[in-house]
């Protein structure tokens, strides 16, 4: 086991490799973040808002569609980084032997993993920018505060990419990713204040939701989207930062244990 990480800016080379591949099929890669918000808007804006017109959130009423728009962006930040650093990274590591090839160059394993996680976060940012552009005409995001959603996407991407990479370091085979998806990602998708305010939940469930990273990402994203910045948002930011500081090194440690043996 290594005790000190051997990490330099050469990790950008790994990031560049992934960007090159992404650009080879950019059209296919652009479609989901362009179309998905439109699907959401149609389903919730036209369909569900017939039933739920308004939501009571932080002492006032907001339209349901404006309520779920930041949640939809947050969920996409989570999905892009998490799935990139689980399934896609696993394919590169296990099936394509991309990491093996990189290990024969001056790159260290720490740099390979860092490049992968930063790339996952970059995908979150790209998807967020595309989504914001698509929904801009609907006036659902308040600017200029909404601009801060872009750096937020990077922070959220590092958080979810790191924990995704941590799972990549421990799963035996690719099918086993179903477990963290089913037990971690799906509950977060539903219970992080995404589709209904957390106030609707009993106190114990609210406490549980506090431990989910998506709750904090949604909180910040919603505040930015409404243009209502308060000082308690720092708590959410600190939570995400601490989450990154824990899971990023843990991901590297698990991957070292898996590959450097």
């Amino acid at each position: 086991m290594r005790f000190i990480f051997d990490l330099s800016f050469r990790f950008w080379r790994v990031w560049q490799r992934n960007l090159d591949v992404y650009r080879e099929s950019w059209l296919v890669n652009f479609l989901p973040p362009l179309l998905e918000p439109l699907f959401y808007l149609i389903a919730f804006g036209l369909g569900l808002s017939g039933l739920v017109r308004e939501v009571h959130y932080q002492g006032r009423s907001v339209s349901y569609i404006a309520f779920i728009t930041p949640a939809m962006i947050s969920v996409n930040i989570m999905y892009n980084a998490f799935f990139e650093n689980t399934y896609a990274s696993f394919v590169r590591m296990y099936y394509q032997k991309t990491f093996d090839a990189m290990m024969a160059t001056p790159l260290t394993l720490e740099e390979i993993i860092t490049g992968e996680i930063v790339w996952g976060a970059t995908k979150s940012v790209l998807a967020t920018v595309l989504m914001l552009a698509v929904i801009a005409p609907f006036g659902l995001v308040n600017y200029p505060a909404g601009i801060l959603i872009v750096p937020l996407a990077f922070l959220g991407g590092i958080a979810f990419g790191s924990i995704g990479m941590y799972f990549t370091g421990i799963v035996k085979n690719i099918e086993l990713f179903n477990l963290p998806v089913f037990l971690f990602i799906t509950p977060m998708f539903l219970f992080s204040g995404t589709f209904f305010p957390l106030d609707a939940l009993p106190p114990w469930a609210k406490k549980l939701a506090f431990f989910l990273p998506l709750t904090h990402l949604v909180n910040i994203c919603r505040a930015l989207s409404f243009g209502e910045l308060t000082s308690d948002l720092w708590g959410d930011v600190v939570y995400l930062l601490v989450f990154c500081l824990v899971f990023f090194p843990l991901a590297i440690v698990r991957m070292l244990r898996r590959l450097w043996r």
Binding site: R13, V14, D20, V21, Q96, K97, P106
Partner: protein, 303 residues
């Protein structure tokens, strides 16, 4: 000691309590092609993986270019070319792009990388496939592409782990030609193989490995002379009478059940056997490295 490229001292590798490499020492000189031979599971790949920092050492020391490996890994890897056993080409990228992206891992400037890539792809006969996807290449082309990729940083030492396994004779010969050309240009090569013909053709010196230990070391020709001699009489479809006859005359032989091998057999003995008992299936041939290999490592299957 600048003419020593690889100096491996008492290497050990333990996987989950099993000792795969048990105290192996060897060195590779500049401009030399050095071979590591051994049956499957002998520890060849374990040694290779330790040599380029892919796998930590359980014991021993490695010096490459006179530098201690673990403390100078990044500097050393800049001067190494590695061709791994498993295909690790990037299926998401074209042939040319594979080399250019790989060059970037070495911080080689883009223009220089492109020049080198085109030159190398021409050298390996892939200049007409620059923009094809890797998965559309044949096995032989892929292997040549892996070799081209391993040379992108103009290494001083090329490490090849079974470079021709799974290739057809045409591709294999082409790879050998290219490797010999590189060797003649002064490149040092370290290769593992279990093809004796490959080792005999390419290697100046070699070690034969089994169960993680070195059985013997030397020049291919010397090893053949020492362990086997000049010629081998090989008899198939052996009769009981022949065995009796050989025993009677006190001639030592190796009996595989269906074949008998007499090492360093005399011409006269061959004539005698082929005339008297075995007109068919009796062969006098040159002793080869394969004879040495099988004599030392035995004939049982390794699974």
């Amino acid at each position: 000691m600048t003419d020593i490229r690889v100096d491996a001292r008492n290497l050990r590798k333990i996987y989950n309590g099993l000792e795969a490499v048990c105290g192996v020492s060897f060195h590779v000189k500049a401009g030399e092609c050095f071979g590591i031979l051994g049956p499957n599971g002998a520890g060849k790949t374990s040694i290779i993986k330790m040599l380029y920092g892919f796998s930590p050492l359980s014991g021993g020391e490695i010096y490459l270019f006179g530098l201690e490996l673990t403390r100078n890994l990044r500097v050393i890897k800049n001067r190494l070319g590695v061709c791994q056993q498993e295909n690790s080409l990037d299926p998401d990228l074209s042939v040319l792009k594979n080399l250019i992206v790989f060059a970037r891992y070495f911080n080689i400037p883009a223009a220089q990388a492109k020049r080198r890539a085109e030159k190398l792809l021409t050298f390996f006969g892939l200049e007409h496939r620059l923009y094809d996807r890797v998965i559309d290449l044949s096995g032989g082309m892929m292997r040549r592409l892996v070799l081209a990729r391993a040379l992108i940083n103009e290494p001083e030492l090329l490490i090849l782990d079974e470079p021709t396994t799974g290739l057809d004779p045409q591709s294999r010969n082409q790879v050998w030609e290219r490797l010999m050309e590189l060797k003649s240009q002064g490149l040092s090569i370290l290769l593992t193989t279990h093809y004796m013909e490959e080792a005999a053709r390419l290697c100046d010196r070699l070690i034969i490995l089994d169960y993680g230990r070195i059985l013997t070391e030397g020049k291919p020709r010397d090893l053949v002379r020492t362990y086997i001699g000049h010629e081998v009489i090989e008899i198939t479809g052996v009769s009981h009478a022949l065995r009796e006859y050989l025993k009677e005359k006190g001639i030592s032989f190796e009996d595989t059940g269906t074949r008998i091998l007499i090492y360093n057999g005399e011409d006269s003995l061959y004539r005698e056997i082929s005339h008297h008992c075995h007109r068919e299936g009796c062969l006098l041939r040159m002793a080869t490295l394969e004879d040495v290999f099988l004599k030392l490592t035995g004939r049982e299957l390794r699974e």
